[in-house]
């Protein structure tokens, strides 16, 4: 496989870092200038990411070594199909979220907006860093940066509840990553003396080198426990707690950047650290698949009970993230492809849902599901997008979510794991149970007039959120449909990943 040295990864990461400085220093001068930097950086970043795409599709790898600090600890970027897949997703959704954020923050007249946009930009830089990292050290580095710079975003409201949620957020993410993930990194390095990702898995030859199965199993368990951003049970409770953040933060960070970084790193660990062969031999893939299945079902059941819209979405996220883990844990080509596709398909669906939750809050100041009766008539665009988003979550064609479930299902058959099919079916039913009642209530129930009667019944017609918020959510909803019809780029990339990791067999 051909390797090209290029500084594009550095440019991509530094665009939003430069933007951070500009936002910080111009933040107090002019709001418009400050927001212009965000948008500009988002677009430039996306442009640079896309500029790498043709090379990657030709099967090349873009590499750049920044600095080798001490032996074994090198900051190195290596953009392969999997990396660019995630980079495209995150950088594209950043553009849309930026517009939405601006609308949300201005409509609610939030405080500390400069801090908010600064942290947002750093978070995106770090997400790109994880996406493009070439070894486990670089991954860990940016993983921690994401945790640290999203803490102010979660604590944004500075109320006691926000602080408590943020405290749980940082305790779970930083705590487990230091206690477990870092230990796993140490064990990996002490076993094989390198942390560089490889297609066959960097621990692939460890068994031959005399490393015991117990050692490898412990390392694997530590990785899975340490990558808490993937919200695998029992380390999921930070995610609902983090819902105290403003909705755009929940949308991009907790449906896309943060949690997807988590599952992305899980995928990396499974494919590039351990490798398909080793995990099959150790039987750890199947074990992981069952833990993920457990998470899928239990989180869905918990979601059913939630009355707060964002909390329900949060538990839905916990459940959906485990699809990605489930897929990759099955270790068969179709399942891996499905798992990778689910990263992007869930992202579009879930960001739409969070956007609508934010729009409802801004336009109608409603946060509970029981208050949503009849809201579809006032906010038809928003709720239509919500419907599309939930159908995608459930996995009904012609929406994107169907594709990944289909592939994972086929993968389960390839792996001869019939119980997994039952899990998929069961979770689909549960998804329908917690999403469809909302859609039904929004469109077919009458609004309760006794609430907010001060201004609720006097006005008729549409009461949508500002256009700058509605357009992004409509776009992402359309994206969820478009990805079913034309998933070509993402599917090609997913297939490239699958060939590279299973190609030898």
């Amino acid at each position: 496989m051909e390797t090209i040295t290029s500084i594009t990864p550095i440019i991509i990461i530094s665009t939003s870092l430069v933007a951070t400085f500009l936002i910080f220093f111009t933040g107090d001068m002019s709001k418009n200038l400050r927001e212009a930097w965000t948008i500009l950086a988002a677009i430039i970043k996306f442009g640079f990411v896309m500029s790498m795409l043709p090379l990657i599709l030709e099967g090349k790898i873009i590499e750049y070594t920044v600095i080798s600090i001490v032996p074994g600890l090198t900051i190195q970027f290596k953009v392969d199909a999997l990396g660019i897949f995630f980079a495209i997703l995150a950088s594209f959704l950043w553009i849309i979220t930026s517009f939405y954020s601006i609308g949300y923050m201005r409509s609610l007249n939030e405080h500390a907006q400069t801090r908010y946009f600064c942290c947002f930009a750093i978070a995106l830089s770090a997400t790109m860093g994880v996406a493009m990292s070439g070894n486990m050290f670089t991954t860990f580095l940016f993983y921690e940066i994401i945790t640290l710079c999203t803490y102010p975003l979660v604590a944004h409201k500075e109320t006691p509840e926000a602080l408590q949620g943020a405290r749980r957020y940082i305790a779970y993410l930083l705590g487990t990553s230091i206690a477990f993930q870092l230990t796993a990194v140490f064990l990996t390095y002490s076993a094989v003396g390198t942390l560089d990702f490889s297609d066959k898995g960097l621990l692939n030859n460890a068994r031959a080198a005399g490393i015991s199965d117990l050692f490898l199993t412990i390392t694997f368990v530590l990785y899975m426990a340490g990558i808490t951003k993937a919200a695998l049970m029992p380390f999921h409770s930070w995610l609902p707690a983090a819902m105290v953040a403003p909705t755009p933060v929940s949308a991009l960070l907790h449906a896309v950047a943060v949690v997807k970084t988590g599952v992305f790193v899980v995928v990396k660990v499974v494919l590039h650290v351990f490798g398909v062969n080793l995990l099959t031999e150790l039987g750890l893939g199947t074990a992981l698949a069952y833990v993920a299945s457990f998470t899928i079902i239990v989180a869905s059941v918990i979601a059913l009970k939630q009355n707060n819209l964002k909390a329900r979405l949060a538990y839905s996220t916990v459940s959906q993230l485990s699809y990605v883990i489930l897929g990759v844990a099955l270790l068969t080509p179709s399942a891996i492809a499905g798992s990778i596709m689910h990263i992007v398909l869930h992202a579009f669906g879930k960001i739409t849902l969070f956007f609508t939750a934010g729009a409802i809050y801004v336009a109608a100041h409603k946060t509970e599901i029981s208050q949503l009766d009849g809201i579809g008539k006032k906010m038809p665009f928003t709720m239509a997008a919500f419907t599309l988003g939930s159908l995608s979550m459930i996995g009904i064609p012609p929406l994107g979510g169907f594709l990944s479930k289909w592939y994972i299902g086929i993968g389960a058959l390839e792996a001869h794991q019939l119980p997994i099919i039952a899990v998929l079916v069961g979770s689909t039913i549960l998804n329908a149970c917690y999403f469809l009642p909302i859609v039904y209530a929004a469109f077919f129930k009458e609004a309760k007039h006794d609430e907010h009667h001060g201004h609720g019944h006097s006005r008729h017609g549409f009461e949508e959120a500002p256009a700058i918020m509605v357009i992004p959510l409509v776009l992402t909803a359309i994206g969820a449909v478009a990805l079913f019809i034309a998933p070509s780029i993402f599917l090609d990339l997913a297939r490239l990943v699958v060939t590279s990791v299973t190609g030898g067999n």
Partner: protein, 494 residues
């Protein structure tokens, strides 16, 4: 001058320290520039020495031209050179910072004596590092300790009691050390370290030598405040003036750790320290206890400075732990951590001093919206805190990397767990502060308007910023520091 550098680096602060008194009595304002000149010369000389050591090998300087082992020899290898740079750099940075902070915290007539004693302490510490003679080391150890007692004692109103405890413990430590020196002198008739290295091996099973070794370790353990001999440290460092805490926290324990490494691996052979006696095994567990105890106590503190003092107790545990695992990675980690920890401690104590300067107190629970009043200082605080926790790419991560690799290599799984657990507790301790200073709204209701920006004076801010930014730079330079200095300090057989 290059040849005389090892003597000059001690003579200059010593001389200027005495000049400070007559000059200061004439014009008090001259003390500060004089001190800066002295510490800057030390810094310059330490770089010359390091350059000589790296390029032309170890230095052996004969004081007054007397041949060792009868005369006093200043023997400088990579480890000394490395430590000299750390101590003189820290002393320079702290002396730049000192002016405003001291003026605020001390009575005016004490300022002259402060600078005098400060330079005496610098001279003492540099002397410990430069000398190649065990008794001379004791002399400098006492100079440094006495100066340290005096500096702590000029702190707040509870400082005298804290100092009294410190003196008692410190003197006991010095006695143990001196007894060790005496015992070795009885059996070998020599005090020169290089000479002792040659004379001692045949005597390794002599009971006198074994006892001497134990005395050395206990004596030094008191000086570095190794748990459970740390009791003097939290009080002394809490009640000392901010400038003093910053300097002694960053250097005293580190220089003590240097003395421990010298005795364990140069005076005695590594095989003696590792195998003949179960020293390293005991030290490893004691260090683990130090890490746990220090961190737990740190969590319980509301006084920022006292919390840092307990973290220092834990950090000493890190350094000793790395030495005790007895392999190359662990040792590298320890030596690297000496550097990182000095810088982190200076940075955090200086920031505490800055908070003290502006707010007048250090109670963690009552510091509101500091990030708006002192954005630069608190930005530095975050970087230093992250480095303390050991998050890459800050310096703190790289020494922990080596420490943990060392523990894994030695198959000491408990130590690995302790190292990680203490990192976690440090994280909790610092996030508690970050949360209350950054995100907790002020309870004061009339403070609804934005607090005004109110940073400390430039002469205090600059040292904080420089030292904190250097935490990031050191992080990236770790590899080079290890290549050019630390790898040569690893004892043979590791």
């Amino acid at each position: 001058m290059k040849e005389q550098a090892p003597a000059l680096i001690i003579a200059i602060p010593l001389l200027i320290s005495f000049i400070n008194i007559p000059v200061g009595l004439l014009r008090r304002s001259l003390c500060y520039p004089l001190t800066i000149i002295a510490t800057f010369s030390c810094l310059y000389l330490s770089f010359i020495i390091a350059d000589t050591v790296i390029n032309s090998g170890n230095i052996s300087y004969r004081l007054g031209g007397w041949e060792p082992p009868w005369g006093i020899e200043y023997a400088i290898d990579h480890l000394n050179a490395y430590m000299l740079i750390i101590v003189s750099l820290v002393s320079f940075v702290v002396s730049v910072y000192s002016k405003k902070s001291i003026e605020k915290e001390l009575a005016r007539e004490k300022i002259i004596y402060f600078y005098t004693i400060y330079l005496l302490l610098v001279a003492g510490l540099l002397g410990i590092l430069a000398t190649g003679d065990l008794f001379n080391l004791f002399v400098f150890l006492e100079i440094a300790s006495l100066a340290g007692y005096a500096l702590v004692a000029i702190g707040d109103k509870r400082a005298p009691l804290a100092t009294f405890n410190y003196i008692i413990m410190g003197t006991i430590g010095a006695c143990f050390y001196l007894l060790g020196v005496g015992y070795l002198y009885i059996v070998t008739g020599s005090l020169n370290i290089a000479d002792l290295t040659k004379l001692l091996p045949p005597l390794y099973h002599s009971r006198v030598v074994l006892v001497a070794f134990a005395f050395f370790i206990v004596g030094v353990a008191i000086k570095i405040a190794l748990f459970p001999l740390h009791t003097w440290l939290p009080d002394a460092y809490t009640h000392a003036p901010s400038t003093v805490s910053a300097f002694v926290a960053a250097t005293m324990t580190k220089v003590g750790a240097y003395a421990m490494i010298r005795i364990m691996f140069t005076v005695f052979e590594p095989s003696f320290s590792l195998e003949t006696l179960p020293t390293t095994e005991i030290l490893g567990w004691v260090a683990s206890a130090a890490m746990m105890f220090g961190c737990i106590m740190a969590l319980a503190q509301n006084d920022l400075k006292r919390m840092l003092a307990y973290i220092l107790v834990a950090e000493v545990g890190y350094i000793v732990m790395g030495v005790s695992v007895g392999n190359r990675e662990g040792f590298t980690g320890s030596v690297l951590h000496i550097l990182n920890d000095s810088f982190m401690m200076v940075s955090l104590f200086l920031i505490t001093g800055a908070i003290m300067y502006k707010e007048g107190h250090r109670n963690i629970n009552n510091l509101f919206s500091l990030h708006k009043k002192m954005p630069i200082t608190m930005g530095c605080f975050i970087i230093a805190a992250i480095s303390m926790v050991g998050v890459p790419p800050t310096a703190g991560f790289f020494s922990k990397w080596y420490l943990i690799l060392g523990a894994i290599d030695a198959q000491k799984w408990f130590f690995v767990a302790f190292l990680l657990l203490s990192s976690l507790m440090v994280a909790v301790a610092f996030f508690r502060i970050i949360q209350s200073t950054f995100f907790k709204p002020s309870e004061n209701h009339n403070a609804h308007e934005e607090p005004l920006r109110d940073e400390v004076p430039f002469s205090m801010l600059l040292p904080i910023v420089v030292i904190t930014v250097s935490l990031l730079i050191i992080g990236f330079l770790s590899g080079q520091i290890i290549d050019s200095l630390i790898q040569h300090t690893v004892p043979k057989g590791f």
